[in-house]
């Protein structure tokens, strides 16, 4: 547990970086500090490992003031990952990762074995052990940075905008990787970012900082999106927060309709009768794999089986059991028929959700 007790950082020129911060970071959780530049989020992070000394108040780790500890010894027990990874250019990947274990006096063979273990954990090929940092891509360098921070198995991991210098696709995979690692390792992670989407994706708890170094709101991601404490937080989380918040509600709460789903062998005329007033029929194979949409206006009077018609592509699907309401809404918006196709884990059609159905579900969520 990391506690900020009225922690403040005032620079001699009068700049207030952090203004009386009171908060508690829970052990084993990912806490994200988010805010615009100049809001003191990085300064607050760096108070934890004494890279910045507070000018007022205190920072405590498990009840002990960090200033009681020798900075170098303290830092060896706290992992630290930064934007450009900060890898040592003159050391191989393996020796970079082994840095802290060697500082702690481990034998070289043991430190190297540990480094190789960590390379596997963060998804690096063993063949990269003897490479130098400049031979790696940005995403790989960041993986090495994470591995190096984890090398001595520190209980706390500080991450200062670690993924903001890599392209969006790599960033997404690094975020997934971090989520997977955290499920395995249960570290106390403090993560700084200016990207609210990244914060919502990674954080168990999110602390929103406002310019001037004060805490605007400290909440779970869900509550942050549902109930921003004031207009600053509201504008910072963005006007589409309502839609983003749907990420926290499972699609399994929906009731997908079966009555507009037809086997490809069904005759067009029979389907038209069964549709009633519905404008679209979803055509599936014998084992319920989706084929496409058929418009009601093309079905009336035709005698051919549905499978022989020219179908409109069914677009994206959503997984009823694992996806969120946001994914279902996204699939419905993108679908040419205005309806989302819900599938099970094997990709078989469970049913269809119309925008109306989604509207009803959303209405109940916002209640």
């Amino acid at each position: 547990m990391i506690t900020f007790e009225g922690a403040a950082k005032l620079y001699p020129d009068g700049t207030v970086a952090v203004d009386h911060l009171d908060m508690t970071v829970e052990t084993g959780q990912t806490t994200v500090f988010v805010g615009p530049s100049g809001s003191g989020k990085t300064t607050s992070l760096r108070m934890i490992n004494r890279m910045v000394e507070p000018t007022g108040g205190a920072v405590l780790i498990d009840g002990e003031d960090v200033r009681q500890r020798d900075p170098a010894v303290l830092r060896r027990s706290i992992g630290y990952v930064i934007q450009q990874a900060g890898l040592f250019p003159h050391r191989t990947v393996r020796d970079n990762i082994a840095t802290v274990p060697l500082l702690l006096g481990w034998r070289r063979a043991r430190a190297r074995a540990r480094a190789e273990e960590l390379m596997e954990l963060v998804g690096l090929e063993p063949s990269q052990a003897r490479r130098y940092p400049h031979q790696l891509s940005g995403g790989q360098q960041q993986r090495v940075g994470v591995a190096r921070a984890l090398a001595a198995d520190p209980p706390i991991l500080l991450m200062d905008e670690p993924f903001s210098a890599v392209d969006p696709v790599v960033r997404a995979s690094l975020q997934d990787e971090l989520l997977r690692l955290q499920r395995e390792l249960h570290k106390t992670i403090v993560f700084v970012t200016h990207d609210i989407d990244e914060a919502v994706r990674l954080g168990d708890r999110i602390a929103v900082f406002r310019p001037g170094g004060t805490l605007a709101q400290y909440d779970s991601p869900e509550r942050l999106l549902a109930e921003p404490s004031d207009s600053f937080v509201e504008s910072f989380v963005g006007y589409d927060r309502g839609v983003r918040r749907l990420s926290f509600f499972p699609a399994s709460g929906l009731s997908p309709r079966q009555d507009v789903v037809f086997d490809e062998g069904t005759s067009a005329g029979a389907a038209a009768d069964a549709l009633g007033g519905e404008p679209w029929a979803l055509v599936v194979t014998g084992d319920r794999m989706p084929l496409g949409w058929a418009s009601a206006t093309r079905l009336a009077g035709a005698d051919t089986p549905l499978g022989a018609l020219e179908l409109v592509p069914y677009g994206h699907t959503f997984a009823v059991d694992t996806d969120s309401l946001r994914a279902a809404l996204d699939a419905a918006v993108l679908s040419p028929a205005g309806r989302a196709v819900g599938v099970d884990a094997d990709g078989r059609v469970v049913g269809v959700v119309s925008q109306d159905d989604l509207g009803t579900a959303l209405w109940s969520v916002t209640e």
Binding site: A72, I78, H90
Partner: protein, 227 residues
């Protein structure tokens, strides 16, 4: 015209070959002058580096030290080499030191800024992560910043070695100077151009070989550097 030029080249080469060494007298000929040149130049560069490293580390560590030290080195560099060689004579006589002391002082004007800049160009994120991993100031300097500065230091050594190898010749005016002796005594004083040309060519060749050796050293020492 072309025949004349060819004759001239042949004459120069012939002089060089016949005077390469004298089996009877190991002190005469080009070879002992070349080795003397190498000895004076390499010792000066090594001593210069041995001074520039600790002074540069100190200047990088205590920043206010650097401007006055740099000014001092620059002023020293402006003292004509002939004057420094002459001024050394009363103290060191005709020993190697008369050439080596001024020459190693001159190398500082190149080596010192390179050591300091090399240490300063260590990327801030590298330094920050060293701090965050619990490196103390001294350990950081020795284990992280100095190794990362090696390419810049070697770049300085390359420039300094070419300059020093060229300048050794001036020491011939005080009776030292390796190949400079060939240029002055065998050539100029006898009004004979072949020794002068041979002296110049050998000096440039020595600079070339030394530079190649330093490039090789850099490849071996810093396999990690971007090229």
């Amino acid at each position: 015209m072309i025949a004349d030029a060819w004759d001239w080249v042949a004459r120069v080469v012939e002089w060089g070959v016949t005077n390469w060494s004298h089996p009877g007298d190991p002190e005469r000929g080009l070879l002992p002058r070349l080795t003397e040149h190498m000895r004076l130049a390499y010792l000066s560069i090594l001593i210069g580096l041995a001074v520039a490293l600790p002074v540069g580390l100190a200047c990088a560590r205590w920043k206010p030290l650097y401007p006055p030290v740099l000014t001092g080195v620059n002023v020293l560099y402006a003292v004509p080499s002939i004057a420094l060689f002459f001024l050394m004579l009363p103290y060191t006589g005709f020993s190697d030191w008369t050439a080596i002391v001024p020459l190693s002082l001159y190398t500082l004007v190149i080596l010192l800024p390179n050591v300091v800049d090399g240490l300063r160009q260590v990327p801030d994120h590298v330094r920050q992560s060293a701090v965050a991993m619990g490196f103390g100031p001294l350990r950081r300097l020795v284990r992280v910043e100095t190794p990362v500065a090696v390419p810049v230091i070697i770049a300085g050594l390359r420039v300094a070695s070419v300059a020093t190898i060229s300048m050794v010749s001036v020491a011939s005016l005080v009776g030292l100077g390796g190949l400079g002796q060939v240029i002055l005594s065998d050539g100029f004083r006898r009004q004979f151009d072949a020794p002068i040309v041979v002296g110049i060519v050998l000096t440039v060749a020595l600079a070339f070989v030394t530079d190649a050796l330093l490039v090789l050293a850099q490849r071996l020492l810093t396999p990690w550097a971007r090229r």
